[in-house]
């Protein structure tokens, strides 16, 4: 394998970044779309089927002909797709109102904090261990060089993820404060308390995989949880998985824990005063955070990029025909499928259950989740001592 020069490795890293950013910005709008459609079908309606502007203007142009898709079985599901483009156009073109009494600098910096911390987390997420693909020899400039499955292979990856993710809380708290308005203030206060509380059980529940895999590196953890344990990490860590997922819902402000933006109580919570693309950043950050939580859950508890649980893989491999043998290898697609499944769970839960009250949210965290997470950690330690 050739050793890359400095400029070559910079280009390779940029390509990796591009891949991850493309993944994030494909998955996130599709999650928004899926939220509309899945929620729609859960509630016996169609979800979005058009851009609501008739036949005039840019959106009208996108809308034109879309209704015909309704007659085609599979395509009919995707009729609402132009709505996503219209949404983004609307967010970008909308007037950006800053309240007169707002703290302008903080008001400006808050959405950026939320957004940046959400995206940067992905640096430490490894989609597939080792090499994702190698450039062919004839490729100009970077020919023959490998592209790894994650941007940064940090040996304290989990620490990085938790650390950066918690910076996102500042975005919300500062947004609530800087708006200088009452409902956002309440929303910001709620989120400060809620997200700080839920970070504790979240971190403890993630300590269990750390104990089991004896590593903090995302790729190593994911591999040891998936391959080293029977049936991925899910069997010894089912409690940890549930705790983690619950805390993940709370950290991303999703129902049943959407206190900071509880629509029916606080109008829109911390982002009441935001409009245009600043609001868009909060909106995107929420969905990117969902993807991050889903990626961690998939990586640590659902076997990451491995398709079959350990044990089954060995039994099945001889019978897989040649072209299917890559089913036995770790692959980024399996990782993506698992992420999408957890994103679906988010929407599913949202369509099913009501919202907790603020004080109940806190009692769930402190009275139930933290003790349970500690017990789970003890369990993992015992497994580590005697089984692995």
């Amino acid at each position: 394998m050739p050793i890359p020069t400095l400029s070559q490795s910079i280009v390779i890293t940029l390509i990796q970044c591009l891949l991850v950013v493309v993944f994030v910005f494909v998955v996130v709008p599709l999650t928004v779309f899926a939220e509309r459609k899945v929620l729609g079908y859960l509630q016996q309606r169609l979800g979005s089927t058009r851009v609501a502007s008739g036949h005039v203007g840019i959106t009208g142009w996108m809308n034109r002909g879309m209704w015909k898709w309704g007659r085609i079985p599979v395509l009919s599901y995707w009729r609402g797709i132009p709505g996503l483009v219209a949404d983004i156009l609307k967010l970008i073109l909308k007037e950006d109102v800053i309240p007169a009494k707002a703290d302008k600098f903080v008001f400006f910096i808050a959405p950026a904090l939320s957004m940046v911390s959400a995206v940067v987390v992905f640096a430490a997420v490894s989609f597939v261990p080792g090499v994702f693909f190698t450039f062919p020899k004839w490729f100009p400039f970077v020919g023959g060089l490998p592209v790894s499955g994650g941007i940064a292979d940090i040996n304290v990856g989990l620490l990085w993820i938790l650390g950066v993710a918690s910076v996102g809380v500042y975005g919300i708290v500062l947004a609530g404060w800087a708006s200088n308005s009452k409902y956002p203030l309440l929303g910001g206060l709620r989120s400060a308390a809620q997200m700080v509380s839920y970070e504790v059980p979240l971190a403890i529940s993630l300590l269990a995989p750390v104990v089991l895999s004896a590593s903090l590196n995302f790729a190593e953890m994911s591999e040891r949880m998936a391959v080293g344990l029977p049936f991925w990490g899910l069997v010894p860590q089912v409690l940890g998985f549930l705790i983690y997922l619950t805390c993940g819902f709370a950290e991303t402000n999703r129902l049943p824990f959407d206190m900071p933006e509880a629509e029916n109580e606080l109008v829109a919570g911390f982002h009441t005063e935001y409009s245009g693309m600043k609001f868009g950043f909060f909106y995107l950050a929420e969905y990117i955070n969902m993807t991050v939580v889903a990626a961690l859950a998939a990586g640590f508890f659902l076997g990451g990029p491995w398709l079959l649980p350990f044990g089954l893989q060995g039994l099945l491999n001889p019978y897989l025909p040649g072209f299917l043998s890559w089913f036995g290898e770790p692959h980024a697609i399996f990782f993506a499928v698992k992420i999408i499944f957890i994103l679906f769970t988010y929407i599913w839960v949202r369509g099913t259950i009501p919202r907790y009250r603020y004080d109940q949210v806190m009692s769930v965290a402190w009275k139930y989740l933290i003790p349970m997470a500690l017990v789970n950690l003890l369990l993992a330690a015992l497994v580590r001592c005697f089984a692995v």
Binding site: Q44, Y183, N264, V267, R355, D359
Partner: protein, 366 residues
């Protein structure tokens, strides 16, 4: 810098869960409500005064626009109050049809209550499920009188027209599927831990307080007082119907939820009985072209979905319109209980309290 201050917040008049244009002045200590005063009047149109300048026949159109979620029940009260004023006897078939439509309307109103109450608490799927059934009821309204929401369903003296052909089939179809729909809502809510946490023991209103404040309807019955005008002072064809008045003693939001769910079952029972025992005959009494009142006053109360709706009418000799008209609107009087229910609770509880009172601002402000 560290001042210990209470924060004043206006909940409404533009707020997602104030059911229209209610404004509640809140004083908050953190998230706890220390002071709560509902402010009303944003939807005031002067319905009562307008009705005094209209003939007795025309007035009914305005009753639609009070509680627009239960227009039929309002129409029934108005028609019966006028019939009492003029001493008109309504044919039996008309009474039955009125009773049936009134119960359908109770279902529609309770479904709206369930939908919005659940949405306020965060269960958004129930909202759309409930609206699905309400749609069928509105379709029946449309089949009967041509409009869906503001029905003007009845006439003084009976009905304008008999049931349309095929109406029976619609009713049978609805009644066949409705119990399973109710089960669907209850599966999502009744035993849901979060729903119970949000409603059990929340926004309590004891029977004494409820009576002292004049609260009626399901809110009163959930406090253990079995007062239902359909039983206490039967009107329309309710004397001939066999139904129960569900009560609970817990007097909290969850009890009100259970009471209203059971009321829906009873309403379905009444509709079934109306269909089975529907008498034949005319649907309109003989009336003069213009009703001219004697000097007379009348108060007629009926059980609207939200509580006792009373119509107070004063006639003037020889005049074609009422001399004085006043409505005892259940929402208006029930709303008085809001401070009692919400003070001391959290800000999320006032949303539950507004939902459980089942208010419609069109009726409160009139």
């Amino acid at each position: 810098m560290f001042k210990n201050e209470e924060m004043e917040v206006n909940l409404g008049p533009q707020h997602p869960s104030t059911h229209g244009v209610l404004r509640v002045k809140l004083r908050l200590d953190g998230e706890t409500i220390t002071h709560c005063r509902p402010m009303i009047g944003y939807l005031h149109r002067g319905v009562e005064k307008i009705c005094e300048n209209q003939t007795f026949f025309q007035g009914q159109v305005w009753t639609d626009r009070m509680d627009y979620c239960s227009a039929v029940a309002n129409n029934l009260g108005w028609a019966e109050a006028n019939e009492k004023l003029f001493g008109i006897t309504v044919p039996r078939r008309a009474q039955y049809i009125r009773t049936m439509l009134n119960e359908f309307n109770r279902l529609a109103s309770h479904l709206i209550w369930l939908a919005t109450h659940a949405l306020d608490i965060g269960a958004m799927t129930v909202f759309l499920y409930a609206f699905r059934e309400r749609e069928d009821i509105l379709d029946m309204n449309e089949a009967f009188c041509g409009s869906r929401l503001t029905t003007t369903a009845f006439r003084i003296g009976g009905l304008r027209e008999d049931l349309p052909p095929g109406f029976e089939k619609l009713v049978t179809k609805f009644l066949a599927k409705f119990p399973s729909c109710l089960e669907e809502y209850e599966n999502l809510l009744s035993e849901n831990r979060i729903w119970k946490k949000r409603t059990v023991g929340v926004a309590k209103l004891s029977a004494e307080d409820a009576i002292a404040l004049g609260v009626t309807g399901p809110v009163l019955r959930a406090a253990g007082v079995p007062y239902d005008i359909r039983k206490a002072f039967p009107y329309a064809a309710y004397a001939e119907m066999d139904f129960e008045v569900p009560t609970k003693t817990e007097a909290d939001t969850y009890a009100r939820y259970l009471v209203r769910m059971e009321e829906m079952r009873q309403s379905a029972r009444i509709i079934q009985q109306c269909m089975d025992g529907m008498p034949e005959g005319p649907v309109m009494a003989k009336l003069p072209k213009i009703l001219r009142a004697e000097v007379n006053e009348v108060y007629h109360a009926t059980e609207a979905p939200k509580g006792e709706i009373g119509y107070y009418l004063v006639g003037e000799k020889g005049s074609g319109n009422p001399y004085r008209f006043h409505v005892r609107a259940p929402g208006f009087i029930n709303l008085q209980a809001l401070p009692k229910m919400a003070e001391g609770g959290l800000i999320a509880d006032i949303v539950a309290a507004i939902g459980t009172l089942d208010i419609v601002l069109g009726e409160i402000d009139r």
